[in-house]
Amino acid sequence: MPHKVDIAFTLNGRPVAAAVPVSASALQVMNRDFDLTSAKLACGEGECGACTILLDGVSRNSCLTPGVDLDGRDVETVEGLWTGNGMDLLQDAFVEAGAVQCGFCTPGMVMQAKFLLAPGKKLTRDHVLRGLEGNVCRCTGYHKIVDAIVAASGETS
């Protein structure tokens, strides 16, 4: 049995705890310990962004983040965007723009967009394109994804 470490952190607004193997990634902790499957394993080496989560408000590839390093942090995934009253503004914008095809990259795209929008500034298309350089969509749906994020930031260009 691999050695396990007790960690406690905030997951989508609520305090949680788990015993995780030292070699597990944050992505594996999300998937295995909390049944949160929005963050996806695709490339497993930080190239595709499908595993993007927010760690203390900052976007990270969860496949490359040590699970044990979640201890004490604030973790957000797409599952946390549901408020009980409806979807997040960004999710609505994705639906409105038709920015979802197969959907595999979408949670990572949404969380990266959440990070880009965090300062509350208006984003131009160039900001969004640059900000999504670490997120791959293999349905070639980039235009609508960019449209959605620009719309969500209140920019209409």
């Binding site: 050695h3 070699s23 990634s25 590839n61 004490g72 670490g134």
Partner: protein, 296 residues
């Protein structure tokens, strides 16, 4: 290749979540430690069969002292766990170390810039390490700390004496990189960073080149040229630097500099590019740097 999702690798057997340099160095003194900060290199490499890592994982992400950027009048000090995003977001470094900021700007992807640290980029000792090239141009020093049994002792290693082979350096098993420091380059230094890859993001450089100098009375001084991915470690092009030092930039001198550079680097053919192409890129980047220097 990543492991299947249902399989937890067993590379690490113990964990130390260090909150101080003391604690991290004491854990390293046991001799079986592997340091992690952002994890962007380690978490890929830990599952590779030909790599071995100490089974005691020591997390330095929570050591606040290592996250500081200190802009002094004479010296700049970057804590080892300062991330590429921290470098880009810093209001002063853009003017002080524009080539370092350019390297941070061209570094991987936003998510990786949020995690990857300057200390990690040095420790990983890749011949293509983006941030190392401008650090070589800045004559940076790598501060190494260790627990000597009674207290923390430190030594400074010049960046160009730190690397020994791909993935290897003078860093001992009980040492922690605690900071990278360099002399304040003064106002308006000429400093450039170039990097080549098929797309702007997420590329390991085919060739990278850093150039820095000052222009005094029409003559170049303090010339530094460093390259990545043209040899087994990031390298300084000392012969080319010497040729340019104290000289006026004539067309003849520029041509001679390009030939000297071609002679003193030893790129290889690999999946990312041929030796011929790497020579071509190195020459082209130096040409561009010298052209810019002449205009400034």
């Amino acid at each position: 290749m990543a492991l299947p999702q249902n399989q937890i690798p067993t590379a690490f057997e113990a964990f130390v979540n260090a909150t101080s340099i003391d604690e991290a160095c004491k854990a390293l003194a046991i001799g079986d430690g592997t340091v992690v900060a952002g994890g962007t290199d380690l978490w890929v490499q830990k599952d590779e069969a030909h790599k071995t890592f100490g089974p005691r994982l020591i997390n330095i992400s929570n050591i606040e002292e290592l996250a500081r950027i200190e802009i002094g009048r004479d010296r700049i000090r970057l804590g080892a766990r300062v991330t590429m995003s921290d470098i880009l977001d810093n209001g002063d470094l853009g003017d002080i170390a524009p080539a370092l900021c350019e390297a941070a700007n061209k570094f991987a992807s936003p998510q990786i810039r949020n995690a990857a640290t300057i200390g990690g980029n040095v420790a990983n000792a890749s011949p293509a390490a983006d941030a190392v090239v401008p650090l070589l141009c800045l004559d940076a020093k790598i501060e190494l700390s260790k627990w000597d049994g009674k207290k923390i002792s430190t030594r400074d290693v010049p960046a160009d004496a730190f690397f020994s082979a791909p993935g290897q350096s003078v860093l001992a098993v009980d040492e922690l990189i605690t900071a990278i420091s360099f002399e304040h380059p003064g106002t308006n230094p000429i400093a450039r960073f170039f990097k080549s890859g098929p797309r702007p993001a997420l590329e390991i450089a085919i060739v990278s080149l850093g150039f820095s100098a000052r222009l005094a009375g029409g003559k170049l001084t303090n010339v530094r040229i460093a390259l990545g991915a043209v040899g087994p470690t990031p390298v300084r092009a000392r012969k080319t630097e010497k040729l340019l030092e104290g000289q006026r930039l004539t067309d003849d001198l520029k041509a001679a500099a390009l030939d000297t550079l071609a002679d003193e680097i030893s790129p290889i053919d690999d999946v990312r590019g041929s030796a011929w192409y790497r020579q071509h890129l190195a020459r082209t980047y130096l040409q561009e740097a010298l052209h810019d220097a002449a205009q400034s």
